[in-house]
């Protein structure tokens, strides 16, 4: 005779593996409040999954609609947009680098303290931007 813990494990295990529970477990669940509550809840979850399956299938767009959307999303403009954005970022970072370099040079001439810039700082900033744009 199975105890409650074993029955609960069997009911859950059967659901996880997609097989019917052992007959002993079902027999026990018929007479035990705790186990029957679990069995009923699992039935409800499966039923809810079935309902979700039916409703979502009805709401699914038609094949024609999907192909139309796919064609629209595959336009050259959309394909080249990320590359254009990356090019703009590279240009922007380069311009900023040149401007900063010029500012540093003019400060040197003015004999003022030069702010320290870590080597590779521009590269890190550029990489961050590329990662963000790439993700977009």
């Amino acid at each position: 005779m199975m105890n409650c813990d074993a029955v609960c494990d069997e009911l859950m295990g059967a659901t996880v593996e997609g097989r019917p529970p052992a007959a002993d477990a079902l027999l026990h669940a018929d007479t035990c409040r705790r186990c029957s509550a679990l069995r009923d809840d699992l039935d409800r979850i499966r039923s809810a999954a079935g309902a979700f399956r039916e409703v979502a299938a009805v709401r699914a767009p038609s094949a024609g609609d999907i192909l139309r959307r796919a064609r629209r999303r595959a336009t050259p403009m959309r394909r080249w947009l990320p590359a254009a954005a990356v090019a703009m970022c590279v240009t922007l970072v380069s311009v900023c680098g040149v401007a900063r370099h010029s500012a540093r040079q003019s400060r040197l001439h003015a004999d003022t303290p030069v702010p320290t810039v870590e080597p590779g700082e521009d590269a890190v900033a550029l990489l961050d931007l590329l990662l963000i744009v790439g993700d977009l």
């Binding site: 979850i45 039923s47 809810a48 309902a51 039916e54 999907i66 993700d135």
Partner: protein, 182 residues
């Protein structure tokens, strides 16, 4: 979704017609927004048709498509995270499509009334939001799509034991979530 092994990919029209509902359902369950799910479903098929040459036929077509759908959904979540970071969260949280009809409490798991079935589906749709992404993926593939554990593991690229433990946790969590509603 039971295409035999070592079969070539069907034509684009046939591929989309045969698998559109499965892909849309999985994406909808993940993003929980019907309009967004339609766009992402189109993206999935676009990627699939572009990468059709890379389909080796050693996996079932549905396994291959679900893997593409999974990557598409994950990319979407990553993009959304970056957008939220850049816009200081102004872009907002998506996936709160709550268009469910407010109907009576559901009591019988074998309910056949269409209105009640829609309400039940919507309750599950809401409850899915409480699951972490990995548990949601496992639940949708294993319970909703009815894939065997072996194929769920293949789609997600994780061991079968991990699929089972995640599904176990998902069921416990869903039981709690649905308990308030059912």
């Amino acid at each position: 979704m039971n295409t035999p092994l070592q079969q070539p990919l069907p034509d684009a029209d046939v591929l989309v017609e045969r698998y559109r509902a499965d892909v849309f359902r999985f994406v909808l369950g993940m993003v929980r927004d019907a309009a967004l799910a339609e766009d992402l479903t189109a993206d999935v098929f676009l990627k699939a048709l572009r990468g059709a040459g890379g389909f080796r036929g050693d996996a079932e077509v549905s396994t291959w498509l679900f893997a593409i759908a999974l990557n598409t959904v994950r990319s979407h979540f990553r993009r959304r995270k970056v957008l939220q970071y850049i816009t200081f969260g102004i872009s907002g949280e998506q996936g709160t499509d709550t268009t469910a009809p407010d109907v009576q409490r559901f009591s019988d798991p074998r309910e056949t009334d269409p209105v009640q079935r829609i309400a039940l589906a919507e309750r599950l749709h809401r409850a899915l939001g409480a699951l972490p992404p990995r548990q949601r993926e496992v639940f949708l593939l294993r319970v909703v799509e009815d894939l065997p554990v072996r194929r769920v593991a293949a789609v997600l690229g994780i061991p079968e034991g991990t699929v089972k433990s995640n599904l176990f946790k998902a069921m416990v969590r869903l039981r709690e979530e649905l308990d308030d509603e059912l």
